[in-house]
Symmetry: C2
């Protein structure tokens, strides 16, 4: 009986994915081979990324370089002669790092240890030099449980590292994300004067990693910064060995400014059959203000643009409209994603799917899907077509920050997140190492081929 059940299940699972979509294997595999050939032999993503990184550079929302990135995006999309290229106006926050940013810890004997430090995005400045006794917590829970008297008037150091055991490094990131996002609010609520965190990275190196944080209404705002993993390890080890107190000294003149106007950049290949059915593919155009935003998310920008170019250059006539969106402000506000979802709803068009690339330009592994069981079955029915390109991950998961808000507006939409290999991502994420030179051409182009292939298959079979 159990054996029968097992076989019945087997049959059912194969039958359902087999019969559900009449995948035209030969035609589709020929098309996907052409897509990858185009991506690998005549691919333009790498040169486009070089230009975005070197001609524009880091491009934090609200900065002059973010404005230049918008100009760059419009121009590059126009050069490809897509059917439409336009900008969607949005309001965005504007925070600047300023020009002063330094930190030291002092041993009980008064020895100075300069650390590499980056203010977290959104932090207030220190208003001159801030100095205070360090109180260390091994993780956020320990801080939340601590008595106010232990924290008041001190500078909180949260030492929690990302978990090396996680094979998907984004899970390890997720585990530490609340420390960066809420550490200042948590510590401020208990009377701390500042907070420093161990950088969110799996690599032990000298560069600090920034990222967004926010304050909570009703709790005092205190300055927040990340120190490099190397500095954090050193400080933690010294604190553990010592019974006397250490002090931290920091100065930062970062500042929040009034909101300003910015833009999402949009281009389309019009659908031949259902022009009002939209498949969105995108990444985010803004980046942090250190490095060059190469993996995060220059890769996603050039992946999306290249996917559209490849389909156009192969003379593919999509049934549905395929729309590339360069989202603004993913890093510190997601105003681009939210405003796009509102705009999409108000347009009266039917948004059937969206694909996001925001996990770097590494060798492809597959796709996550955030949708129905049918959407997962559909994605899995593509598996044999994509296996020759070493894609193997087709699972329920997360689409992406930029496309996420579409789900609130369209119940039936399928969101797909491009999944490249994640082992190196947090070496580069939000720090000085996220530069063009750390992106590999073939890995980047394999990603563009994977995304173009998925869009082709969605357009045909969704």
């Amino acid at each position: 009986m159990r054996l029968f059940f097992f076989f019945a299940l087997l049959l059912f699972s194969h039958f359902s994915s087999w019969s559900q979509k009449n995948i035209h294997f030969e035609r589709d595999s020929t098309m996907i081979r052409s897509i990858f050939d185009e991506a690998l032999v005549r691919g333009e993503a790498y040169d486009q990324l070089r230009s975005l990184c070197k001609d524009v550079g880091a491009r934090l929302t609200g900065s002059a370089s973010a404005e230049m990135a918008i100009h760059w995006g419009v121009q590059r999309l126009q050069n490809y002669n897509f059917d439409t290229v336009y900008k969607q106006e949005i309001q965005v926050p504007h925070w600047e790092r300023g020009t002063t940013e330094q930190g030291w810890f002092k041993t009980p004997e008064g020895t100075l240890n300069k650390v590499n430090l980056l203010a977290l995005g959104g932090s207030i400045g220190t208003d001159g030099v801030l100095e205070g006794e360090i109180v260390m917590f091994k993780d956020r829970d320990a801080l939340l449980k601590a008595d106010r008297s232990k924290v008041k008037g001190k500078i909180v150091f949260i030492a929690q590292p990302m978990n090396q055991k996680m094979i998907n490094t984004f899970r390890a990131y997720g585990g530490c994300y609340p420390i960066r996002g809420h550490g200042a609010a948590d510590a401020g609520a208990k009377g701390a004067t500042g907070v420093i965190i161990r950088s969110l990275s799996l690599s032990e190196h000298e560069h600090a990693h920034t990222g967004t944080m926010s304050y909570e209404e009703g709790t005092p705002k205190i300055p927040a910064a990340a120190i490099s993993t190397k500095d954090a390890t050193k400080l933690e080890e010294m604190l553990k060995k010592s019974e006397e107190s250490f002090r931290f000294v920091m100065e930062m003149d970062c500042q929040q400014y009034p909101e300003i106007t910015s833009y999402n950049v949009i281009a389309e290949l019009k659908g031949s059959k259902n022009p009002d059915h939209i498949i969105t593919v995108g990444g985010h155009l803004d980046s942090w203000d250190v490095g060059e935003g190469a993996h995060d998310d220059g890769a996603g920008i050039v992946h999306s643009m290249e996917a559209l170019r490849i389909l156009k250059d192969l003379n593919y006539q999509p049934k549905n409209t395929i729309r590339v969106v360069f989202f603004m402000n993913e890093e510190n506000g997601n105003r681009g994603g939210k405003s796009y979802a509102t705009y999409a709803k108000e347009s009266g068009q039917q948004h059937i799917a969206a694909v996001e690339s925001d996990r770097g330009g590494f060798a492809p592994r597959g796709f996550d899907v955030d949708g129905t069981e049918d959407h997962l079955a559909l994605l899995r029915s593509f598996q044999s077509l994509l296996k020759p390109y070493y894609l193997h991950h087709f699972e329920t998961g997360y689409g992406g920050v930029d496309i996420g808000p579409l789900k609130d507006e369209f119940d039936q939409i399928a969101l797909f997140g491009f999944v490249p290999d994640s082992q190196r991502y947090f070496d580069f994420h939000h720090n000085h190492n996220d530069i063009f030179e750390n992106v590999n051409k073939r890995e980047l182009h394999m990603g563009a081929g994977s995304i173009a292939s998925l869009i082709y298959l969605i357009d045909k079979y969704l």
Copy 2:
């Protein structure tokens, strides 16, 4: 009828892999999780690789640094207190690059273009300055078909690039390998005075890539070198545009010396049940004499050593003897692999399996197996256990150069080749970029975890 056949096949394929081995899923997945935790949290492979690259460096067979590498290997294996550590004496070729190595091409107008050039391993020197008219061939076939009168007295340039379309980059390498290996013999047979080839790399950059070549009895020996892909593209483009002849000037004082004595380095964990059944795991200790042999094959050395360390530190008692072999002379002779197979046969022991890592320290994809249908089925029965670690490639394929000769001695042996992602490999292969800094710690440690897991599973179920 056809549908029935399809279902019958399905049942059969699932049934065979399901029933064949009584994989104890829970116990094994717990063990494999422990293996990866050890590799990722307390892994030593990266630090071992740093030492091999920085304390020893490049280590071409026959060189003093190869001797130091043997010393290093013995010491490192002894420090882990494995059951046995010993050396196997072998005879090896001895070739040296010398101290002079340069090249230029001259346009018809006499403009000099200096190129980055590396003598191919095994080449004779130029005996002073060699100059001659360049004759270009688009590939090896074109050279083989060419009339002797077109080649005689000239320097042959074979412009063939590796094929960017190949997803498995080792296939692209295989397509160009004969140019490097036989180009000198092919050109020499037609009276050429020298041969230069486009470096075997998928990346357009300024470093030349070396590698082994050989002469054929009865054909004149001529000097052979690789020029960088960047130089090769430039030369090819200029030659295509010009109707007049270009000249090539080269000087190399590389030289072959008499054979000398060297060693494979061996260590074991003795089998508790079948100590005379051997599972070999290895990589090659020698490297080319440029860069630091980090991916090729320092990664394989530390993968193998680390796999044994992990199993030992987790107190795993193998049924069979697990033997690590650091093979000498893979790059230019494979004497280590050949001698080891002979030694293995003469020992009277039963060699049941061998695993090789010689495709770099990149993120794991899976394993190739060179064996019977049963061996493939066995490997595939491990698939669900290894899927959480993003291993997905379990196919019939190549084991490796070092373990290959074991097959001639043991009919029933299963050879496994570790398959990491191959996109970046030929950026670094046999050139100045193959240094420690181009290896990622987590990717390397994921490889060690994968190999240790495979050995555990082979030991239990083969």
